[in-house]
Symmetry: C2
Subunit: 225 residues, 2 copies
C-alpha cells in the first residue's frame, strides 16, 4: 500500500557504542511492515558509507578484556543524508554520553533534520541525546529507567514522565529502556498505519505487546515514580 | 571473570535474509554479558569479510517495492571460521528455505563445526536450518509457531515440542519465534553463567522474562498443541 500521507522514508541514526537492540527491535518491526507498505531505510552515521561501520556497544574490551561488538553498514553520512526523511529513529547506548566530534555532529544532525520530519522516535537513552539538542524542552518524554533520575536532573526543561513504557508528544515518540522500543514502534505502527498491522507484526515476532503505555514495571523497580 | 569451563568464543552464523531480531536479541544479551565475563564474538558468513555484508530480511523489494534491509559486517567466512568456537548461534529468517550455494554451505558449516562446540542455540526457523543437517534427529526441539506444523511435517525425525518458548536437549537450545530468542538466551545465561547475570541483563533490557519455558501463548494462538 502506498499513501503519500504515510511515512515512507525511514532513517536511523547510528553511532559508536549504540545499543544493538534499541535499533534492531524497532527495525525488525519495520522490516516486517515494509511488506505491507512502501518503505525505504537509510542508515545514517557521521562518517557514512565510506567510513567505518557503526559498531554496537561495547566497542572497548572493558574490564574482562572482551571483544564483543557488531558492525552495521551505514548508507549515508550526516552531511549527505537524504532530504526526504519522514521518520528518524534515534537509539540509545553508552555512546550518547561521549563528548566526541562524532556525537557533536549527531546532535547537529538531529537539530537540522527534525524540522523536515513527520515523526521522530527515540529508544532508551536516545531521548537523552535528543534532549541535548533542546528539541525536547517543554515536551513530555521518557527514557531508560536505570538512568532516569540522572537524566531528569541533567535536562530539567523536559517534562519527563517516569511511569511510562513510551510517551507521545506531538510528533515525537520516546521509549523507555531497550525492549520498550519494540512496544513504542508497535504503538507508532498502530497509530500511523493501523492496529491490524501492529497486531500482525507482534504475533509474527511472538511478542506480547504492552498495550497501555502507562504500564511500566521497570519504573517502580528502579524507584522512579 | 574468566573460567576455562565457560563458553568464551561465541559465533553467529548469518546469511542472506536472516531475521534481524533473531540475531540481535540474543547478541544484545551477550553484549551485556561480555562486561562480566571474557567473551569474543565471530560473525560468520559464506563469503566472509572480503564478501558482502550479511543482509537482513527483506533483501528483495517485495510486493510494495520497499527497500528495507540492513547489512551486518562479517568477521569470518565458513571456510576460515575460528576453530575454538564454544557456542554457535543460528538465527532464522526466510533465508533458511533458500536452496542456494550459500545455504548449502551454511548447512555444511553447521555439520562440521557442531562436534567441537560446547553449545549450539537456534532462534525461530534457525532450528529448521539445523534440522536440515540431521543434527536434531531424535532430539527435542522447538521452532517458530506460525511455521510449526509445516516444520513438523518436513522433519519427522525431530521430537518437536509444540508448547515451548524454548527447549533444551543436551547442548542444543532451540527457541520459538523471534523474541523467544531473548528468553532462551537469558535461560542459557542463567544455566551456564548464573541466574544473577540473567536477571541483571533482563532488568537492563527492561524485559519481562518468560521464566517457565513451557509458557508459550503463541503455541495456542497458532493452533499448536
Amino acid at each position: 500500500m502506498y499513501s503519500p500521507a504515510l511515512p515512507q522514508h525511514i532513517g536511523i541514526l547510528l553511532f559508536t557504542d549504540f545499543e544493538a537492540l534499541d535499533a534492531f527491535g524497532p527495525l525488525n518491526c519495520l522490516n516486517a511492515l515494509s511488506r505491507s507498505f512502501q518503505l525505504r531505510i537509510s542508515i545514517i552515521t557521521h562518517s557514512g558509507p565510506s567510513g567505518k561501520p557503526a559498531h554496537t556497544w561495547p566497542t572497548t574490551p572493558g574490564p574482562q578484556n572482551s571483544h564483543f561488538t557488531q558492525g552495521v553498514v551505514p548508507t549515508h553520512s550526516f552531511a549527505n543524508s537524504p532530504e526526504d526523511l519522514d521518520l528518524l529513529l534515534v537509539p540509545g547506548g553508552y555512546g550518547v554520553w561521549e563528548e566526541t566530534e562524532e556525537m557533536q555532529a549527531a546532535k547537529d544532525f538531529i537539530r537540522n533534520v527534525y524540522p523536515n520530519l513527520k515523526y521522530m522516535c527515540t529508544i532508551c537513552t536516545g531521548s537523552a541525546l535528543v534532549a541535548m539538542t533542546g528539541l525536547l524542552d517543554n515536551r513530555k518524554a521518557t527514557s531508560n529507567k536505570r538512568r532516569f533520575k540522572a537524566i531528569v536532573e541533567k535536562f530539567p526543561r523536559v517534562n519527563w514522565v517516569g511511569a511510562a513504557r513510551w510517551v507521545v508528544d506531538g510528533n515525537i515518540y520516546t521509549a523507555s529502556g531497550v525492549t520498550a522500543g519494540i512496544d513504542m514502534t508497535l504503538a507508532f505502527i498502530q497509530d500511523v498505519y493501523g492496529k491490524e498491522h501492529a497486531d500482525e507484526i507482534a504475533d509474527r515476532l511472538e511478542y506480547e505487546r504492552v498495550l497501555d503505555s502507562r504500564l511500566d514495571v521497570f519504573a517502580a523497580k528502579n524507584g522512579v515514580v
